[in-house]
């Protein structure tokens, strides 16, 4: 769960990395060693939420978005 939250945190703050998380999830799975359950959340709920973010996420909004994503990931992984 922590690895997935780490990925989401970087993807929120950094648009370039967001492209990797959105469109090359296999790379993220391999590089972070995500479990199948984490991969399913990355390509499901996290993907959809990342795709809906503005470009860029303003610095003042980053902490709130990161907290929202952490909640989403914790809920999805139980």
């Amino acid at each position: 769960m922590d690895k997935l939250i780490e990925i989401a945190n970087q993807a929120i703050a950094d648009y370039g990395f967001r492209q990797v998380a959105l469109w090359s999830p296999g790379d993220a799975v391999e590089r972070w060693g995500l479990s199948p359950a984490e991969e399913a959340v990355l390509t499901g709920a996290v993907h959809d939420a990342l795709a809906a973010l503005p470009v860029p996420v303003e610095p003042a909004d980053v902490p709130a978005e990161q907290a929202r994503f952490a909640g989403l990931i914790k809920a999805a992984l139980g």
Partner: protein, 255 residues
């Protein structure tokens, strides 16, 4: 007025957005049959739909430029669907903002090297093979002003773009005698999602704009104009060059 790419077949990587998208659409409008390649399938589908709606011909290749098998399949798609490959535009890249070298993550370094430099190498490798069978072609690799100057928001990004410029030089040396011209376009700041994203705030984006010699950023089609010239037969005696399209930014910094 005749279309400038009539009868040509082109692959454009990074065709889902930004410079890649405007280039794929413009090349199709100029008569080329286009393979719009990107790992972002929804974005590439929009590009293909725009081309089709305008009466052009395009095919979609969902692929990752850092994977050799996917690059080979992309080139094969151009040849099987459109009969040959004349033009390759390497626009796919990622820009991850990084701290200075001592704090730079190895993971971010590897990801940018994989897409921005290995990806261009692989696309050149398989694209050149197809072009040799067809008797020649034109490759234009997109680098960046940050591949020339020690500036920018990412060490790895700048290093990959410097590598693209040199890869172009070597490819030109090796394949110009066989009818393949290879050139680079190095854009300055362009109003694309990637550049807006890498600014990481609207305030920084606006600061980049106001500090530019032209007090504006380039629009993607202003880069496409340079790509079109180099890709077309109008540039028949141009190979091994790096055309800087930055609105005078680097010149302003030097002088």
């Amino acid at each position: 007025m005749p279309e400038r790419l009539e009868g040509k077949v082109a692959i454009v990587t990074g065709a889902a957005s930004g410079i890649g998208r405007t280039t794929a659409i413009r090349f199709a409008a100029e008569g080329a049959k286009v393979v719009a390649a990107d790992r972002n399938r929804p974005g590439a589908e929009q590009t293909v739909a725009t081309i089709s709606a305008a009466g052009g011909e395009a095919a979609l290749a969902q692929m990752d430029t850092s994977k050799a098998d996917q690059v080979e399949a992309m080139v094969e798609l151009a040849v099987t669907q459109f009969g040959k490959l004349d033009i390759l535009i390497n626009a796919a890249a990622i820009l991850i903002v990084t701290p200075p070298i001592a704090e730079h993550s190895e993971r971010d370094w590897d990801m940018m090297m994989a897409v921005n430099l290995k990806g261009v190498f692989l696309c050149c490798k398989y694209g050149i093979r197809a072009m040799l069978k067809g008797g020649g072609g034109s490759i234009v690799n997109i680098a960046s002003g940050s591949g020339i100057q020690g500036t920018g928001r990412s060490t790895a990004y700048g290093v990959t773009k410097a590598g693209v410029i040199h890869l172009t030089t070597m490819a030109s040396e090796q394949y110009t005698p066989q009818g393949i011209r290879v050139n680079t376009v190095s854009p300055g700041p362009v109003d694309t999602p990637q550049f807006r994203g890498s600014a990481q705030s609207t305030a920084v984006f606006e600061e980049n704009r106001t500090k530019h010699p032209m007090a504006r950023l380039a629009q993607p089609d202003e880069i496409t104009n340079a790509l079109l010239f180099l890709a077309s037969d109008e540039a028949s005696y141009v190979s091994g060059q790096n055309l800087i399209v930055d609105g005078g930014q680097i010149a302003g910094a030097v002088y």
